[in-house]
Amino acid sequence: MASRQWRGRVGDAALVISTGAATLLVLVILAILVIDVVRGGSARLSWGFLTKAPTEGMTAGGVFPAIFGTVAMVILMTIAVVPAGVATAIYLHEYADRQAPLTRIIRIAVNNLAGVPSIVFGLFGLGFFIQFLGGGIDKLFFGGNKVLGQPALIWASLTMAVLTLPVVIVATEESLRTVPRELREASLALGATKFQTVLNVVLPQATPGILTGTILAISRGAGEVAPILFTGAAYYLPHLPWHPNNQFMHLGYHVYVLATQSPDVDAAKPILYSTVLVLLAVTFVLNLSAFVVRSRMRHRFAGASA
């Protein structure tokens, strides 16, 4: 009897120690990463770095075009993915018949979409958006001239939208699920249609979750490089992408290029570190804001289901 108690206590201690060690490991790795990047990148970090274009074969200057390109791409991606994702989630959760085969097919498709490797999205973007859609539009409207049938900001954004679609759908559905059934019933019992209920009761309460999902999608979109490799990113452009059929520079792609294709790797290293620092900072800020938004709005709606 006493040995069983003793064994229980040893088990407890072992669990605490092992989980604590794992946590510590994660923190250490993160710390090493961050410290290394900060050390290497803070030297070149300056206002000028953030607002100037790169010069002298990427060994000097700044990364402003890459920042601009990334932001432009992300904005277009968001405009594309949020309505589509939210609408899909609303359809799946509020309107679709749970047992119907079509609903199940849609769900399976969404789940599988989330697991597709991002490079495959890039190929999809190339084949479908650029060659098929872009090429088709070119044939129809531009008499065969290559206007849209080539890598462009718009196609890269749409490709990223497809990539991040599952994230938005799932996050939206999760937050729709948290809206208690009683609230929907109350609205319907007052003579509201389903649409009015979704618009006036469900969506307002699901907004924090939807926002969170959107921000997570954005942060993933800002960081993914593979899908934009052949759909619109460019190494160096003399101008900013003011038209949707322009190519653009991108922070993540810029890092890849600096690390592997720079003519003078050593000279480019400081810029590389700084670019990584900027990229990490952007991602970090986005994730943090998602967290803040979610906790602020959860606080506001506290007690809604009491």
């Binding site: 208690p180 019992a189 003579g191 509201a192 009761v201 009491a306």
Partner: protein, 260 residues
């Protein structure tokens, strides 16, 4: 000791004929036929699972929200069927309101909660709207307590107040019938007493149907009581008669506590 059941001239507001409700293959209720008297309080009692809540929700087409729910028979409001081609669930629910077991105010302000039904009915801001909101809150005996904090969140109210708010919200659209599904079961005795008093006052202007598992509450509050058991309507009678001299032995056994 003779039952002073007045020759009640109340006409039927709702007429239910051979109503049966099925969930998939399983029959949950019926067939049930009864009349609900106008501007009276009718209580539905019976043990858990006897079908009284299912019956209540059939009266305002809320059962349709449950997939695989099928119904037979008819329900008529003032001689107009509420099911069938040419009927509209939304219109039915505007005339037959509902208050639920656990209060479910929207996470909006007190004013917006009460105004919700009116807004979705198309009413815009204005004196009409605020007038209706005030009247509903007065009817729910809540106006004096909240008139200075209409813009505050409804979630900050106590349980009893929230339930009265839900009643005000239902009353704001001026339904003809008010269905209440165990409205006081989650409340403490004092809040319950307030709700019961409210029901008494409401029966002057509304037809009230209330489901309750508390027999004493049914005895206190209702004019007519219907006893359901295992999906059947066993007996419906004037409340005083049912609680002093029920005609069915199953009713007698249930209300005296003789269930084995």
């Amino acid at each position: 000791m003779s039952t002073a059941a007045a020759a009640d001239n109340a006409r039927p507001k709702l007429t239910v004929k051979d109503l049966s409700v099925f969930y998939g293959q399983k029959k949950a209720l019926g067939p049930v036929s009864m009349e609900i008297a106008e501007k009276r309080v009718t209580a539905l009692i019976g043990p858990s699972g006897c079908g009284k809540s299912t019956f209540l929700r059939s009266l305002n087409r809320m059962n349709e929200l449950i997939p695989a729910c099928r119904m037979e028979g008819s329900v008529q409001l003032d001689d107009q069927p509420i099911y069938g081609p040419g009927t509209d669930a939304v219109m039915v629910r505007r005339r037959i309101g509902m208050v639920f077991q656990r209060s479910n105010p929207f996470p909006k302000s007190i004013f917006e909660n009460v105004a919700y039904g009116l807004r979705i009915g198309g009413m815009g801001n204005g004196s009409d709207l605020s007038g209706r909101v005030e009247r509903a809150l007065r009817q729910a005996a809540l106006w004096e307590e909240v008139k200075d904090r209409l813009t505050e969140s409804a979630l900050g109210m106590s349980g009893g107040q929230q339930q009265r708010l839900c009643i005000a919200r239902a009353l704001a659209v001026e339904p003809e019938v008010l269905l209440m599904d165990e409205p006081a079961s989650a409340l403490d005795p004092i809040a319950t007493a307030h709700i019961e008093e409210l029901i008494n006052e409401l029966s002057d202007g509304y037809t009230v149907v209330i489901v309750t598992h508390n027999m004493q509450q049914a005895a206190r509050v209702s004019d007519y009581t219907a006893f359901f058991y295992m999906g059947d309507l066993v007996e419906v009678a004037n409340t005083q008669v049912l609680f002093t001299k029920p005609s069915q032995s199953r009713t007698e056994d249930y209300i005296t506590g003789r269930f084995g």
